[in-house]
């Protein structure tokens, strides 16, 4: 695919992504307007019931007395300038809050995804189309991980590997080992699906004539699997991983809660439960942008792995 057409399709996707982002923000904004609860009352906080005058003051302070459409336009205008507003509950820049959580979450998510891939690839490649004991083990392992709520997996991992065996700390965040169990919790949520999908496409590839051709060249079973068939599982695997990565916040919320880790998940739950509209919108924007970005990357990677894509479209 020539560079120019890559750029054209890239810019088209980015434009589309911006539209999706804008849609998402608008939808969420609209959603949150219907959610019950007076933001002014939340802003006031405290023990005592505020008077109407006090509420008025707060509303003026935060521009809540304006009509909804004005608030929306103001929000979008600020957003275009990179201003995400200020959290109601924490009275801090939303951007600062998100920034404080985003790296921890990204590290956790990436570690989880990498671990999932590291487990799934050999599991799928070695067991595709075979009926060995390993295949049976893989079958059971995948089904069990698919069937367990991830918070339960997390709790069991903590109990066994942190509190009982003391292999992996979860408290000392500076210790890289503390990432192992949370990453494993995220990974186990993906491993089942990922390796099943990969195995299916590897098995499909193994039935293709080019595999027979490869074998006829004297390649060993291993070379055929790793050298030829594995690559054919890339697209479905990347699709699943892309969807998962876009939706990684879901896994992260649970994992961060169970492990008491900082990050966007923790911020999300707090933002929603306290009805902190600017913060919720901030989280939505960040995760939707992440989703859009990941999917653009995944789409582009298709073309890199399979040259037929892009030239045929």
């Amino acid at each position: 695919m020539p560079l120019q057409s890559i750029l054209v399709s890239l810019s088209r996707r980015v434009a589309l992504g911006v539209v999706v982002l804008w849609f998402t923000v608008t939808l969420t904004f609209a959603f949150l307007q219907i959610v019950p609860g007076d933001p002014a009352a939340l802003l006031f906080g405290g023990d005592e019931i505020p008077t109407e005058e006090q509420l008025e003051e707060v509303r003026r302070d935060w521009g809540l007395e304006r009509p909804v459409h004005e608030q929306y336009l103001l929000y979008i205008e600020r957003l275009v300038h990179g201003d995400l507003g200020r959290s109601y509950q924490q009275r801090t820049e939303v951007a600062t809050l998100l920034y404080s959580g985003v790296w921890s979450t990204v590290i956790l998510a990436v570690a989880g995804l990498v671990l999932a891939v590291v487990i799934s690839v050999p599991l799928a490649t070695l067991t595709a189309g075979s009926s060995t004991l390993l295949r049976r083990f893989a079958f059971v392992f995948e089904l069990v991980t698919i069937s367990m709520p991830s918070f339960w997996i997390g709790i069991i991992l903590i109990l066994v590997f942190s509190f009982t065996l003391n292999w992996f700390p979860i408290v000392a965040l500076d210790n890289p080992l503390s990432l192992v169990l949370p990453a494993a919790t995220i990974a186990l949520g993906l491993v089942g699906q990922l390796s099943q999908v990969m195995r299916e496409s590897i098995e499909r590839a193994l039935k293709e004539p080019f595999i027979l051709t490869a074998r006829s060249r004297g390649l060993s079973d291993g070379s055929v699997r790793w050298g030829h068939a594995l690559k054919h599982s890339y697209i479905p695997a990347a699709t699943i991983t892309g969807t998962f990565a876009g939706n990684v916040l879901t896994g992260v919320v649970v994992t961060e809660t169970v492990f008491g880790r900082p990050g966007l998940g923790t911020i999300t739950v707090a933002a929603i439960t306290t009805h902190d509209i600017p913060l919720v919108l901030g989280v939505v924007i960040v995760s939707a942008a992440f989703f859009v970005l990941v999917n653009i990357l995944v789409d582009l990677s298709y073309g890199l792995v399979d040259k037929r894509i892009g030239s045929s479209v």
Binding site: L16, V19, V20, L21, F23, T24, L27, T28, F31, L32, I34, V35, P36, L143, V144, I146, S147, M148, P149, S150, F151, W152, I155, L159, T243, G246, N247, V248, L249, T250, V253, V254, T257, T268, V269, I272, T273, H275, V280, V283, V284, S287, A288, F291, V292
Partner: protein
């Protein structure tokens, strides 16, 4: 020479390969039947009332009297699990039904509605997909409040994009299938073709996805319960039981183990059945 019987032999060999049900599928179906009985007749199976408290019998380990032990108020855990099945199963089915209905409407409109409607709907779908499902669920709960029915909506809405995509893709595939063109060639009207051929043929994979997403919905429900955003106590919903049991798992392991096993076995069974349906219906066609 009999008419082309060599070819015949080949096709017969391919199509007549016996598809036996595996032990896993049989066990799963049996387990799901048990769950169905629990849902329909919980009183017949439960040994105790699920809500009667008995402070003197609190936190007893599993015994002949209390098969799964008792919780911190002395309620019989087995009976709570039995009664809770209705909640979890309703979440699984309810959310899937919502997703199915929404997905078919969206997907079919996009698949048949022409280019612009398709583009608009699919962009909207992208938006729903870009919203992490947990956020969607959290917002829905914030909007509607907690409780079983709201949980079900919270999960179901999040699943719609998946179904819409599949329905649309299937409709597009089937729409271009040879038999649709052939029906047109015989002079059937567009409506007749859609009703007779497109929908019946597009719906199979959708039902398979539905089966699998029942399990996913049960898991999602338990996650919402864990975040205290699902059904509220004293409902014996499994996720809630598990969530409540987790803090005492070191002292009363049964509270953290049996509800978890109930969830996992149910989801596992649904998944096994779904996968087997997928094998039987989808791979045969491809």
């Amino acid at each position: 020479m009999s008419r082309d019987n060599t070819n015949n032999a080949v096709t017969n060999r391919l199509s007549a390969r016996p598809k036996r049900l595996s032990v896993a599928v049989i066990l799963s179906v049996v387990f799901l039947v048990l769950i169905a009985i629990q849902v329909l007749f919980p009183e017949a199976i439960a040994t105790h009332s699920p809500i009667t408290i008995d402070p003197l019998a609190a936190l007893q380990p599993p015994s002949r009297e209390h098969w799964f032990g008792t919780d911190n108020l002395g309620r019989d855990l087995f009976s709570r699990v039995v009664h809770g099945s209705a909640y979890s199963v309703s979440i699984g089915f309810g959310a899937t039904l919502i997703a199915l209905a929404g997905g078919i409407v969206f997907g079919a409109l996009a698949g048949f509605g022409g280019r612009w409607l398709d583009q608009a709907l699919m962009r909207f779908n992208d938006v729903l997909m870009a919203l992490p499902s947990i956020l969607l669920a959290l917002v829905v709960v914030a909007l509607l409040g907690t409780g079983l029915v709201n949980t079900l909506w919270a999960i179901g809405i999040g699943l719609i994009p998946q179904f819409a995509r599949l329905v649309r893709a299937e409709v597009l595939v089937v729409r271009n299938a040879g038999y649709v063109e052939s029906a047109v060639g015989f002079g059937f009207s567009k409506t007749a073709v859609v009703c007779r051929h497109v929908i019946p043929n597009a719906i199979h994979p959708v039902f398979v996805l539905a089966t699998i997403s029942i399990g996913g919905s049960i898991l999602a429900g338990s996650t919402l319960s864990f975040l205290k955003l699902g059904p509220q106590p004293p409902a014996p919903e499994w996720g809630l039981l598990l969530s409540e049991g987790r803090s005492v798992i070191e002292h009363a392991w049964w509270l953290g183990v049996f509800p978890g096993i109930a969830i996992s076995l149910t989801v596992l069974s649904v998944t096994v059945v779904g996968k087997s349906l997928q094998k039987r219906y989808l791979q045969k066609e491809s």
